[in-house]
């Protein structure tokens, strides 16, 4: 059976697409799936760094498209930790026009036969880079943060995905801060669900561990003490068809809330 081809996209930059791909890819591989992550952000590659694989790159996506390297397998980098996880890195010194959507489809078609999951890390923006990243995908994960600009761009991306015949994208709400939600200073998951109206795949809390794990080049999903890592493990389980309850968005009630509950005898 051919593997699932999933693009991770957002419109806006800096909302956590690359971190999401690294964590989901690693999380799926931890569950013994054969996974390849494609960095489609040509010119601004980052997935290699987040995965801690930057020193192992020999060939890249453009080399594969231009057939500079003999086969796509020559360009795949095996993960340090998991032998069933691979990265196809982007080229750093070229631009988005260096490959075409047709070339992307051809590369993915070859990988599909062999891998359970092909995750495509989409660049920010809605131009050629987006077209390339989406070309081969049949599913999409839209990443957003609870900010007006990010949600607006996510809405636009959902429309563009529809034009590309990807009708059921799922949402990851990233960097949620329960403390701010409680104070009424951050939109919560219901607000965003209401606006974007697509299925929720996961909520990832804002977590300093993400920065630490990126410093080290080790995805947080491998860290059992990271809240974000736990959220990504849950996301992976949902992708695999498990029903996993969402973490309580409002977190534990504050001191005053607990006091109220006490008064109410709950």
């Amino acid at each position: 059976m051919a593997g699932r081809v999933i693009v991770v996209t957002s419109g806006k930059g800096g909302v956590g697409k690359t971190t999401t791909v690294a964590n989901i890819g690693t999380g799926l591989a931890l569950r013994h799936k054969k996974v390849v992550m494609i960095d489609a952000d040509i010119g601004l590659r980052n997935l290699d760094v987040v995965m801690g694989l930057e020193n192992r790159i020999i060939y890249d996506l453009v080399d594969v498209a231009e057939k500079t390297c003999r086969s796509v397998h020559k360009a795949l980098i095996k993960d340090k930790r998991l032998s069933n996880l691979f990265l196809l890195p982007a080229a750093q010194t070229r631009n988005k026009d260096a490959i075409s959507p047709e070339q992307m489809v051809a590369i993915v078609d070859e990988l599909k036969e062999e891998f359970d999951y092909i995750l495509v890390d989409c660049p920010a923006g809605i131009e050629r880079g987006f077209d390339n990243a989406v070309a081969a995908a049949t599913e999409a994960i839209v990443v957003t943060t609870p900010e007006v600009s990010a949600v607006r761009d996510a809405d636009r991306i959902i429309g563009l995905l529809q034009d590309k015949e990807i009708y059921d994208p799922v949402l990851i709400l990233n960097r949620l801060r329960p403390d701010m939600v409680r104070k009424g200073d951050m939109m919560d998951v219901d607000d965003i669900n209401d606006i974007l109206a697509i299925k929720l795949l996961g909520i990832v809390p804002d977590d300093e561990e993400i920065i630490i794990s990126t410093n080290k080049g080790e995805p947080a999903v491998l860290n059992n003490h990271s809240k974000a890592g736990e959220a990504f493990r849950n996301i992976v389980r949902r992708m695999e068809g498990e029903e996993v309850p969402f973490m309580s968005v409002n977190g534990e009630p504050g001191l005053f809330g607990r006091f109220l509950k006490l008064l109410n005898g709950k």
């Binding site: 900010e147 007006v148 607006r152 809405d155 636009r156 009424g184 939109m187 607000d191 606006i195 005053f256």
Partner: protein, 81 residues
């Protein structure tokens, strides 16, 4: 708890709602055209209208979005067609 302003998330939700009214209307090609067509069909059952002089606009101000339709009526039908 002691703040007198409304929580800022309400402003975020409200602003987003208005922004997306505009974004979606502009982006989805033909959405307004389709709406126009269906409004004409629905109204024409009851009244005869000057189709060529219909104005349909989506307006958003600071605080609200509204669909404004200006539809000149020629005559009202006796029964629904």
């Amino acid at each position: 708890m002691f703040r007198d302003e409304t929580p800022s998330k309400n402003q975020a939700v409200e602003r987003l709602r208005l922004i997306l009214v505009h974004d979606r209307a502009k982006v989805s090609t033909g959405l307004l055209e389709q709406l126009r067509g269906e409004i004409i069909n629905a109204i024409s059952k009851y009244v005869e209208i000057e189709e060529e002089n219909i104005e349909i606009e989506l307006n958003a101000t600071e605080s609200k979005a509204e669909l404004v339709a200006n539809i000149p009526v020629v005559k009202v039908r006796r029964a629904v067609e």
